[in-house]
């Protein structure tokens, strides 16, 4: 599988999906959540929001290292052949002030239904600065795309 095809798969999944599974650590126990997210055009940054009174927020404040799994499975037999899973690995940084304006717009454009959620003072906006993507296709083909 060529580099261009892998990059194509990466973009298709990242821009084609609205939800992903965020893995955090923090308080010694691994934790995972389904999250809405949006992506920067250059793939170097991903954004997601979370209420502050959550376990994942606490985790993120304790340890900023995260993994975000994005996939396009259809939950049928063809998944083993057709599904592509992308894991973004990097550090999540909470955005504040004017730094958050652009990313918030991006999230709203992708998920307009989250307008109230994103506007809430109790909601924190995070930027995942991607160190690398791990792209898995055809069940076992694994490639790494460094972003740093």
């Amino acid at each position: 599988m060529g580099a261009e095809e892998i990059l194509c798969q990466l973009r298709d999944v990242v821009f084609g999906q609205g939800l992903a599974v965020l893995a955090t650590t923090g308080c010694t126990t691994p934790y995972a959540n389904l999250m809405a997210f949006a992506a920067a055009e250059d793939l170097r940054r991903l954004w997601f929001a979370t209420p502050r009174a959550t376990r994942k927020y606490a985790n993120l404040r304790t340890d900023s290292r995260v993994a975000l799994l994005i996939d396009n499975r259809a939950n049928d037999i063809r998944d083993f052949d057709r599904a592509v899973a992308v894991t973004a690995v990097g550090r999540a940084v909470e955005l504040a002030g004017t730094d958050a304006d652009g990313p918030r717009e991006q999230c709203l454009a992708r998920h307009p239904q989250l307008a109230d959620f994103l506007a809430s003072p109790s909601c924190a906006l995070f930027e995942l600065r991607v160190a690398k993507y791990i792209v898995v296709s055809s069940f076992q083909h694994v490639s790494e795309v460094p972003m740093a």
Partner: protein
């Protein structure tokens, strides 16, 4: 749901459940054609079997190891072999087994039957997929019938079917296989009839052999062939063959060839009246079905039976795929081929190579060198064709053995059969053993290697000098074939140094326990046949590895002439001589003035992606085919040119596009092998198996994706290679 029906109960609307073959036979039955007793098993039975064993998911995974378009035929065969193994080892759901065996017992008892594939896609009566799926003859008893039925189901995913997957519309979610079980008619004369000759629309064809049809179908028994005028039924031509053998139903299973009695060999299998009767049957079938038919028939004591009836269409013309289908040979056919290869072709090739080698090319004037070049090109082209049409089909005899072995032994590892083929005296293994002996000798005799490396063999101890000369006399042509003949002493010294420095693997011995289990799996009456088949497979396996060396000698002679011609052209053209196409060289040699107008070679820039921002992509885990069981980690050594192989160091993981037999001296030094070329029967896989090395083949672009010097893990069980990222490149977050 009723899973089976007598042929009389199959109706025109049942094609999707019982397949095209059942539908065609039911049509003939309704119209009063003479048929043997026939039972049809619907696709629902296939679905029950496949679903209960989770085979859909396993087939899907198997077929997506890599893009189908990137798979070589050998890889497709490997995938089909693994899928067949799934079917062989999957348990029959008890309820399904009970229902089918009860019905088969009621219908046929202990009478022998033929078990045939019936594909729903053929039910439109227009398409025909002859030879893509399996049929089995002379099967007795419900248990044996169930075993054969599962193999007919497996043949939905045969290598031939996978090649024609688009025409067949093969789809894991929709495709299924029905089965026709038919009482065997022990015909004394059999054949096929085409109601319209594909070559001449005004004629029909009748072909006939003595005994059963099997010899005709697999090409081992040549038939009598009649051409008839379709309008009048008059015989236009009769082409009698040399009649030697006929196929019979033996006591055990399958069919066997017997010599034909002289009184039968002297007369055609059909009288004029019988030929006309067969033609009439085919003609009526065409009238009933509305299009030309390909009818399989048999006579038993003057009673004519129709056995199969399909549309007289041929698969889409495609020379390459037709050639591949032709590689599937019967035991009898392989025996004939073996006799021709060893008795006729190899001696002839050796003589041709020797004659070419004896020509003193350097003494030839330009015009004669040009003639010699053309002559050698003709010889190479000729022998490549011979290689394609005789050597490769014979080498694929291993496939026949693999299938029989897996059918009889049902091993967990579908490649276990390879363990019975080890230690056959491969040329490359003999060469490696000679290298090892020479390395030991060099270690014992001080100064030997230094003398060899500095081209001063005359200064080496006499015994070592003699041993080296003996080695070069027997195996030295490998350096010429690699185009490094001038440096052969230096390369040999590098190699011996490495052989002497590291422990070298020794080849596996043939597994006597497995041989005994294989032969013992046959009934006592068939054990001689089992031994014969194993012997044929061992010969086929050895030739698979060695035969290209014979062709290689002739190709090396062409290369020698081209090299010399280029050297002469270099005097006129300078460096441009190296890029002159071979076919132009003779012209330039004859008329040196033309060299003045030789155009400068044009270079084409590599295409760009045309995309915006790009990112580097690094392989982490690559999937190919498991070609040698084992798990090993080590440093990857990526080899891209023959000279690289001489710097390979013991204990490294060999990564290359393909291993030429001339280069496989590195294998006993390697810890594992990764190859771009795929398939279990390629040289690299054969030799890795021989030495018991973890091996993964069929990873496209392995030499580009795996960095030289990277630490990798080769998983020869699952067929994957993991590239371990150097710590310096690890991102903080990983």
């Amino acid at each position: 749901m009723n899973l089976s029906r007598d042929i009389q109960q199959v109706e025109p609307r049942d094609g999707a459940r019982f397949g095209g073959k059942a539908l065609a036979l039911a049509n003939l039955c309704r119209r009063g054609f003479p048929l043997p007793e026939t039972m049809c098993i619907s696709v629902d039975a296939y679905w029950q079997f496949v679903r209960s064993a989770g085979l859909r998911e396993r087939i899907l995974l198997e077929l997506h190891r890599k893009h189908f378009g990137d798979m070589r035929w050998e890889e497709i065969w490997d995938a089909a072999l693994r899928i067949r193994s799934f079917f062989l080892r999957a348990p029959f759901p008890p309820v399904l087994a009970k229902e089918l065996s009860t019905r088969l017992g009621e219908c046929f008892g202990q009478r022998p039957v033929a078990v045939r594939a019936s594909v729903p896609e053929e039910d439109n009566g227009k398409a025909s997929f002859v030879g893509l799926h399996d049929s089995f003859l002379n099967v007795q008893g419900a248990r044996a019938m169930l075993d054969r039925i599962r193999l007919v189901w497996a043949s939905l995913w045969s290598d031939r079917a996978l090649l024609y997957r688009q025409e067949l519309g093969l789809d894991i979610e929709r495709s299924a296989m029905a089965v026709v079980v038919q009482a065997m008619v022990a015909g004394d004369r059999s054949g096929v009839a085409l109601s319209r000759d594909p070559q001449n629309a005004r004629q029909a064809v009748v072909e006939a052999v003595y005994g059963l049809n099997e010899g005709l179908a697999d090409g081992t028994v040549e038939p009598d062939r009649w051409l008839l005028d379709r309008r009048t039924g008059r015989v236009v031509a009769h082409h009698p063959p040399v009649r030697r053998q006929y196929a019979v139903r033996p006591v055990g299973t399958g069919t066997a060839l017997r010599p034909l009695a002289k009184e039968l060999a002297d007369q055609p299998p059909l009288s004029a009246e019988q030929t006309r009767q067969v033609w009439n049957l085919a003609r009526q079938a065409e009238q009933e079905c509305g299009s030309p038919r390909d009818l399989e028939w048999t006579y038993r004591e003057d009673q004519l039976f129709a056995l199969q009836c399909r549309p007289a269409t041929v698969l889409a013309p495609d020379d390459e795929r037709s050639w591949y289908l032709n590689l599937k040979r019967s035991y009898g056919n392989l025996r004939q081929l073996h006799a021709r290869i060893t008795g006729e072709l190899i001696p002839e090739m050796a003589a041709v190579a020797a004659a070419l080698a004896s020509v003193a090319l350097a003494d030839l004037p330009p015009a004669l060198l040009a003639d010699e070049l053309r002559k050698r090109r003709v010889a190479v082209d000729h022998w490549r064709q011979v290689y394609r049409h005789a050597f490769i089909p014979f080498a694929h005899g291993v496939r026949l053995f693999a299938q029989v072995y897996n059918d009889m032994v049902k091993p967990q590892n579908p490649y276990e059969f390879l363990s019975l083929l080890a230690d056959t005296g491969l040329w490359s293994v003999r060469r490696n053993q000679a290298l090892q002996r020479l390395a030991h000798q060099a270690n014992r005799e001080g100064g030997a290697l230094a003398a060899l490396a500095s081209d001063r063999l005359d200064r080496a101890p006499a015994s070592f000098r003699l041993a080296v000369e003996g080695f070069l006399a027997e195996f030295g042509s490998m350096f010429d074939r690699l185009g490094i003949g001038e440096m052969r002493e230096r390369h040999l010294a590098d190699l011996l140094r490495e052989f002497g420095r590291h422990p070298v693997r020794v080849p596996n011995a043939s597994r006597r326990d497995l041989v005994a289990a294989f032969v013992g799996s046959f009934p006592a009456t068939d054990r001689e046949r089992a031994n014969d088949l194993l012997e044929l497979a061992r010969t086929s396996y050895r030739l698979r590895d060695d035969d290209n060396l014979h062709l290689g000698q002739i190709e090396a002679e062409l290369a020698r002439a081209v090299r010399l011609a280029r050297e002469r052209l270099r005097l006129i053209l300078g460096d441009r001589a190296a890029s002159v196409p071979e076919e132009i060289i003779p012209l330039l040699l004859r008329d040196a003035r033309e060299t003045a107008v030789l155009p400068e070679p044009t270079t084409v820039a590599p295409p760009t992606s045309g995309q915006g921002e790009s990112h580097p992509v690094a392989a982490r885990q690559l999937v190919g085919e498991p070609a040698g069981p084992g798990l090993v980690s080590g440093v990857a050594r990526v080899l891209t040119s023959p000279a690289d192989f001489f710097s390979f160091q013991g204990g490294e993981i060999l990564v290359c596009d393909t291993i030429d037999p001339n280069l496989s001296f590195v294998v006993p030094l390697a810890a594992g092998i990764v190859e771009s070329q795929g398939g279990m029967l390629i040289h690299g896989a054969i030799i890795a198996w021989e030495y018991g090395l973890p091996c993964v083949t069929g990873i496209a672009d392995a030499t580009k994706l795996i960095p030289d010097g990277a630490r990798v893990t080769v998983d020869g069980y699952l067929g994957s290679v993991t590239v371990e990222t150097p710590p310096a490149q690890s991102p903080a977050a990983s």
